[in-house]
Amino acid sequence: MTSLVTASAAAAGAGPAYAWLLVALPLLGAAVLLLGGRRTDSFGPLLATALSWASFVVALPLLFAMLSRDPSERAVQHTLYSWIPVGDFQLDAGILLDPLSISFVLLITFVGSLIHVYSLGYMKDDPSHVRGEGRELTEWETSREPSDRRRFFAYLNLFVAAMLLLVLADSYALLFVGWEGVGLASYLLIGFWNQNRAYATAANKAFWVNRVGDMGVLAAMMAMFASFGALDFATVAESAPEASTGLLVLVGLLLLLGATGKSAQFPLQSWLGDAMAGPTPVSALIHAATMVTAGVYLIVRSAPIFDSAPTAQTAVAVIGAITLLYGAIVGLAKDDIKKALAASTMSQIGYMMLAAGLGPVGYVYAIMHLLTHGFFKAGMFLGAGSVMHGMKDEVNMRRFGNLNAFMKITWVTFGLGWLAIIGVPPFSGFWSKDGVIESAFVGEGIKPWLLGGAALIGAGITAFYMSRLFFMTFHGKARWDEKEYHPHESPLTMTVPMMVLSVGSAALGLILYFGGFKTFLEPVVGHAEEHHPVLPVPVIMGLTLALVAIGAFLAYRQYAAAEVPVTPPEGSWATKAARADLYQEEVNRTLFEQPGVALARGLDFADRSGVDGTVGGLSSWIASASSSLRRLQNGLARSYALTMLSGVVVLLGAMWVMQ
C-alpha cells in the first residue's frame, strides 16, 4: 500500500472536512427511498446503488490523502457539531479517520456497492413479485409489489450509512448510534419477507439477542464515563493506562459482551443461523462481510483498554477460540447451504476474535482476516444466492450436485472463495489465517498451546466442511430432478460482482501482506515486538497445510467421489448434536427463557393478587361506602334544612360542653 503514496500527491491536503459525505450519501438514499414512496419505485434501486458507489468514490481521495501524510499524522479527527452540551460536559459528534477506519470504510463501501449491484439482479424476481402465481393478485398485493424492492434498497442504504457511522465515529457514544443503526437495518432486512412468519420470528430473535450485547456496550460506556468523564477514543486511550485494572477488566468484559452479541460469538451466537432468513445479498453484506465483524472492530478500537487489562484480553481470545471450533463443528453437519455458510462465518469471526484477543501481535491479523473474509465470504454468499437463483430457491445441498456444468461462472468464483477460506496459498485466506494461527502460538505457558491448537484444528475442520459444501453443490452426481429444476447461470448484474469479489478472494491477501498493511495499521493498534511462536513458523505452516489437505481430501472422498444420499443419514450422536446447533436453543431455553417466563408469571401473579388486590379492594370498599352515603342526597330541600339545623345544634352543643 505504501507504493500508492506517490500516486496520491495530487490529492494531498484533502482533509476530512467532507468525510461526513461518506455517511450522508447513503443516508440520503435511504431517506429519499423511504420518504419518496412509490414515486421512487422506478429509479429508487438505481439511485441507492449509485449513492453507495458515490460513498466509495468519496472514500478514495480520503485514502490517498491519508497515504500522502506521514504515518504518525495519518489519524485525523474532525468535529462535526456539538452533540450533547450539558454544563461542563461536552460531547461532540466527530469523525475519526485513521488507517483502521479507512480500511473498514473501503471494505464497506466497495463490497456494499457490489452487493447493491448484485441485488439489482437478485431481487428482480423477488418472491413478493411472484407470490401471486396461479391466482389473481389482490389490490393490496398489487399496490405493495413494486414498492418492496424499493424498501429493500432503502434498508441496504440505511445499513451502509449506519455501518460507516459506526466505524467513523470518534467516540463510543457516536459509535453506539451506528451500532444500533446496523442492528436496526439487520432486523429490517432479516424480516424483509415478513409475510413468512418464521422469517419475522428470526428477525425478532436477532434483534433480541443483540439487545443483550448492546446492554454490555451501554454499561461499558457508563463505566467509562463515570471514571474517565469522557467517551471519545482519544481521552479513553489517554486515561486507560492510569485507571485501575479492575475497572479496565470490567469495561473490557462488557465490551466483549457487546462484541459477542453483534458478532454472533459464543454465548450469543444463536441468532446468526436464523438470520439467514433474509434475502441472500443481505446475508452476504450484513451477516458475513460487514456488520458481524463490528464486534472485532470494537475490540481492536478499544485496544488501549484491552492492552491494560490482560484478563479481559484473554477472555476475548478464549471466546474466539471456543466460537471458531463451535462454528466449525456446526458447519460440519448443516445441509442448508446458507446455514453452513453462516456457521462458517461464525467460525471465521472466531478466528478474528482470537487474534484480537492476542494483543498487538494479533490485531493486525484480526483486521487483515476481517478484510479478506469480507471478500471471500461475501463472494461465496453471492455464489450461494446465484445457485439458489438457478435452482428455484432450493437451499438443501443434498439436492444439488454437478452444478459446475451449468453455472460455470458461479463455480469458478465460488471455487476461488473456497480456496481462500480453507487457506490454500497463495489465496487471500492463507495469508491472514496463517497469521492468526502463528500469533495464537505466541506466548508462555499453556495458553499458546491451547489457543494455537484450537486455531490449528479449526483450520482442518474448516477445510473439511467448506470442501464438503463445495463438492456437494458443484460436483458429484446430479441429485436434482431434471424435469423440475433447470439450473442456469445468473444474469450479469449478479455474476460481475461475484467475479470482482473472487478476484479479491484470490489476490487481496497477497496485496495486504506484501503491500505493507501491517505498517499501515501500526499507528492505530501499536507496534508488536518481535515475537517467536512456541513452535517454529515453518512447522506451524506445514501442520496447517497438512491438516487442510487432509480435510479437503476426506471431503472429496466422501462427497465428490462417493454417492451423497439425498435423505440425510441418521448419523451418530455427534452429528445429531451438530445438526441441532449443539443444542444452543435448548440451553438458552432452559437457562434463560424458562426462568424468565417463570419470573414473569410470578411477578404477574404477585402484581394481580398483591398490588391489584390491595388497590382494587380499597377502591371497591370506597365505592360501596359512597353509594350508601349517596342516599342522603334525596333532593328534599326540607331534609337538607333539617340536616343543617341539627349540624348547627351539634356544633353549638359541642362548644357549650367544651366551655
Binding site: 342526597q633 334525596n634 326540607r638 339545623l645
Partner: protein, 99 residues
Amino acid sequence: MSLVNYIYLSAILFTIGGATVLLRRNAIIVFMGVELMLNAANLAFVTFARMHGSLEGQVIALFVMVVAAAEVVVGLAIIIMIFRSRRSASIDNVNLLKA
C-alpha cells in the same frame, strides 16, 4: 322590664321560623319562616347591643336587613320561575338534585 325578655322573644320567634321552614311545604311560607329567623336574630343583636352598650350589634342588624332585602328579591324571583314551570310552589316537588 328586663332585657332578657327580648331574648326569650327572639328565641321563640327563631323557633317558630325554624319550625315553619322544616314543616311547611309551600315555598312562600318557607320563605317567610326564613325571614322570621333572620328578624329573630336581628332582635337578639339589638338586645345584646343594648345590654353591652355598644353599637356593633345595631349596625349588624342593619346589614342583615339589607342582605335580607336583596335575598328576598332573588328568592322570590326563583320561586316565581319555579311556579311558572311546575305549576306548583311546593318545595318537595323540586327534587332534581336527588342523587
